[in-house]
């Protein structure tokens, strides 16, 4: 009796069948029993997983506090930090972030000279951004940061362009979080 579907070839993990010849009736019964046993073992594995703690989250929760919180240092949406004493943006408009950005998604329009220099316009196209964080690392004034906010989906790519007001507001919103880091 030939049973090609059983592929009775050698296998180190399961020593039941090693030869390529066709199995005898006794070996065949052994294969069937072993196959049935492997199925029972598989059923047991799924059974214990049935009772395991469920890992999925019911995102988004009605209470935002229950949603998943990223770890410190998470690279999320952008923010410009406002200096507490002066109430002005820390950004000095040096355009280093703009120059290092591999995607070219940052546009800084500075205004003024010397110590007075500050950004008149500050755009980040989050739709192009790949969140590599080079702009934050290069920032000499520690002005540009990334918040833990990961919920940035919108229905229009235009809404993904962050302007200076948006970035300032984000900086205010995440002031405490960013300062702790």
């Amino acid at each position: 009796m030939r049973l090609s579907f059983l592929n009775a070839e050698r296998r180190t993990l399961m020593p039941v069948h090693r030869s390529r010849r066709e199995p005898t009736v006794a070996e065949l019964l052994l294969i069937i029993l072993e196959g049935a046993w492997s199925i029972v073992v598989g059923l047991y594995v799924t059974f214990i997983n049935f009772w395991r703690t469920k890992v999925t989250d019911r995102y988004p929760h009605r209470d935002p506090a229950l949603n998943w919180q990223p770890r410190p240092g998470y690279r999320g949406d952008f923010a410009l930090i406002t200096d507490r004493e002066t109430g002005k943006l820390r950004c000095i408009g040096c355009q280093q972030c703009q120059n290092i950005c591999p995607d070219g998604c940052i546009l800084v329009v500075p205004e003024g000279k010397g110590k007075e220099r500050h950004p008149k316009e500050f755009y980040i196209d989050a739709g192009l951004c790949m969140y590599c964080g080079l702009c934050v690392e290069v920032c000499p004034a520690d002005a540009l940061t990334m918040t833990p906010d990961y919920e940035t989906a919108t229905d229009d790519p235009r809404k993904l362009v962050r302007d200076i007001d948006y970035l300032r507001e984000r900086g205010m919103e995440y002031d405490e979080v960013l300062r702790v880091q």
């Binding site: 579907f5 059974f47 997983n49 049935f50 703690t53 469920k54 890992v55 999925t56 019911r58």
Partner: protein, 359 residues
Amino acid sequence: MSLLSQISNWLRLTAEGLCQRWGIPLLFVDLLAWMVAVAVIIGLVLLIVLIFVYLERKVSGYIQTRLGPMRVGPIGIFQTAMDALKLLIKEDIVPRGADKILHTLGPILFFVAAMLGYVVIPWDDKAIIAKYVDLNIGILYVTAVGSVGIIGIIMGGWGSNNKWSLLGAIRSAAQMISYEVPMLLAIICVVMQAESMSLGRIVTGQQGAYLSGWYCWRPWLWLPLILFFIAATAEVNRVPFDIPEAESELVAGYHTEYSGMKFALFFLAEYANVFVVGLIGATLFFGGWLSPLGHPDPLHIPGFFWLMAKAFAIVIFLMWIRWTLPRLRVDQLMALAWKLLLPAGFLAIFIVAVVLLYI
């Protein structure tokens, strides 16, 4: 049950009276009664199918350490109903170049064939829809109409004008024809034991103290039991025998090109078939509507409930299997049917015959 039969008797008498008064032949009353019963059963089956789909999603979710549907209604119980609704209002697409008639007829035929099986199920003592027709061949009838559905699948697969669909339909045909044989061999064993092809007689033959009379306790019927469930799983295209719609190979098999209502028909009919397998399995081996508490049931729980409970248990076991096992390849599937299950079926018949003759 008595209340139900009283109501039905009263309805019938009223209808007969009305017919006599208006001069309508009495045959019409019978037709009407059957139609009402069919409508009730179809409604019931559709409801149960919805429950099954929900259960499947929950069971699969729990097995995969997910929560499953949770949004619509408490713990998501209305999710399937909403999905069914969504399917009904979706656009019905017929692909370009498709055979429109076959494309439409396929799911209808498949659905009708799936529903026909319910006609002969003994829901309770003497509660069979087709009680006025000769039921000596009930189990034969079930397997016969079960094979009709394949024509619907082939129609759908061919009519879709899609190569994946065609492959799925061909696979399905080959699979159903192959597994019909071992399934019938397994059923023949039970028929030999019960000495009848009537499903009602098969159930009443299993009466005994508590659940001792069920055929699943007779060791010579264990082999047919296993054969029946393997073959029946293959017959309804479930994992590990779901090659006709193997989504990683054939996209979605024969219903690749279906959408909306027609897809819903395929989907519902598949689960209706699974339910038939549960019902027939319970009837053949687990005492059908017989109560495990004794005869008659000391708590007066209707037999309908027991049959449902048994069928649900079987279906949930099939779900458990489905979310555990990989699927077989088409040649392995054929080899399993013809090289292993078929000889095993003959062996089972031989064993049962020997046992019944000499023991």
